[in-house]
Amino acid sequence: MSGDAAPGAAPALLEAEELTKRWPGSETAAVDGVSLVLRAGERVALVGASGSGKTTLARLLVRLIEPDRGRLQLEGRDLLALRPEPLRRLRASFQLVFQDPLAALDPRTRIGRQLEDPLRLHGIVPRRERPQAVAALLGRVGLDPSLAARLPHELSGGQRQRVAVARALASRPRLLILDEPVAQLDVSVRAQILNLLERLRREEGLAWLMITHDLGVARVAADRVLVMDGGRIVEEGPTGAVLGAPRAAATRALVAAEMRLPEEAAVGPQPLTAPSVSPRTM
């Protein structure tokens, strides 16, 4: 079923086949025979209720945890068969952004050094040029280079997630897996981060798998959506079709429970004395 909705031409980046993971002591599998294909430059969302297996799947896809069975290929290379050192080097090309940026940054290492890590680990930038490279990375995510000297707890939630995004992009990945990247952020900061992510995705030609419980995020950040329930992918297709006319029971429940603003009235907002609020991309 995974091949159906994918745009035909783009080559497959990541292919998972029948991935299964059961946690010790649990009767049911957290991820139960999931197959999917992510193609170059594609925007895919993975939605589902909590406990549906989204995060476990994300961690399987980046090989943070070992599946009980199944196959996993990155651009044709078997990720599960790779020895530690080649796998470590290959990690430059697929990255994960975590839900809670404070938890995902080392509490006792300064931001600058944490941003240097991927540049050093993958030999991307020679040592002498790293400070400028770090400043450039911070600039790309809209942060002042002076933040390099700070510790994670000295930053706001939005700034931390920008740092985490910068760190994930430092090694020039082709695939980004984002695990609820805006769920822990303040409402007024969510749109900033989503816009930033989309801008960077275009600039880098990235593909992403956006994991979210928020259908609104799926709507703006994905062209194709996978719906997960009970460890399985129960529905898949273009975002508009799946969320507009859900077929699987789990999708219907998600769509029914979504809280949206009531339809806009014909009148619309009255103009302010200055021009009305316009989309901004800074």
Binding site: G157, R219, V220, G240, L261, P262, V267, P279, R280, T281
Partner: protein, 314 residues
């Protein structure tokens, strides 16, 4: 809405001690809540929404400095927690006693505040459990909290909060710890319970779309001040304050497929330890005038509806 108000706040200021110096959590709040009314306070972290709720519940820490007035005209005195005021908190795991059965916990409210006997209270507890949607309540009444899911626990916490028939129910992000599918059910339950009992509801959330689902009126809080209050419909259809407009626009963008960038509010929420000279939103406002940075906008309106912005004609 012309009945004696249940809650009346005027010029409320609250200063709390913080690790980096005192925090002006509330900087002059005027607000009126009528009996049976459902008011939703929308704000981000640090906006002062939880402080406002704690002030009403009488649960501010002893070191808090208060100025302005907090009155409960319909009661003539502060409400008694548990009897006249119910509280539903974010974390349903923290609000139930782990070593008492849920029946005992609900019955205790009735025995303490309604003077009922334990036998009658237990029967009433079963009725309440049924009302909040616990299936087969006569069998679950003697279970301990750990036997229930997060959503069920929040239902039980709601049953406890409304057991004594309070006049005012305060709810602090009651669904943000729950799964999306459960969120809507819990909100529906809260909303219908207060409706049928004539209880006033003050619910605090960061989510404007959630507010749209259970509010008669919405108050938008930013950096310790209410920037706009209005009945839910007009506020969502014709937001007046630039902050509210941006929030509404972002929420609407998230309802649309793909397309261009989302409406975004640039910058960061203000540092709570620093009191801004003018309008707290001015540094992030796309329309700010020179005076916005120096002169705090006056409140145009009353405790029921109004807006604080130099750009909005009174």
């Amino acid at each position: 809405m012309s009945a004696t108000p249940l809650v009346e706040l005027a010029g409320l200021r609250v200063r709390l001690p913080g690790p980096r110096g005192p925090v002006e959590a509330l900087r002059g709040v005027d607000l009126v809540l009528g009996p049976g009314e459902r008011l939703v306070l929308v704000g981000e972290s640090g906006s002062g929404k939880s402080t406002l709720l704690l002030t009403l519940a009488g649960l501010l820490p002893a070191e808090a400095e208060l100025a302005g007035t907090v009155r409960f005209p319909a009661l003539g005195r502060p409400p008694l927690r548990g009897r006249e005021l119910g509280l539903v908190l974010q974390d349903p795991f923290a609000s139930l006693h782990p070593m008492l059965t849920v029946g005992e916990q609900i019955a205790e409210v009735l025995v303490t505040h309604r003077g009922q006997g334990w036998r009658a209270a237990r029967a009433a507890a079963i009725g309440l459990l049924e009302r909040v949607g616990i299936t087969r309540p006569e069998r679950r009444v003697d279970d301990y909290p750990h036997r229930f899911s997060g959503g069920q626990r929040q239902r039980i916490a709601i049953a406890m909060a409304v057991a004594a028939g309070p006049r005012l129910l305060l709810a602090d992000e009651p669904t943000s710890a729950l799964d999306t599918v459960i969120q809507a059910q819990i909100l529906e339950l809260l909303s219908s319970l207060v409706r049928e009992r004539g209880t006033a509801l003050l619910l605090v959330t960061h989510d404007l779309a959630l507010a749209a689902h259970c509010a008669d009126r919405i108050a938008v809080l930013y950096a310790g001040r209410i920037v706009e209050v209005a009945p839910a419909g007009p506020l969502l259809q014709r937001p007046r304050h630039p902050y509210t407009r941006a929030l509404v626009a972002t929420a609407r963008d998230l309802g649309r497929l793909g397309g261009g960038p989302l409406t975004e509010i640039p910058g960061l929420p203000p540092d709570p330890t620093a009191t801004p000279a003018g309008c707290a939103f001015a540094p992030r406002c796309a329309h700010a005038l020179a005076r916005c940075g120096t002169e705090a906008p006056a409140w145009s309106g009353d405790g029921r509806a109004g807006v604080a912005c130099h750009l909005v004609p009174p």
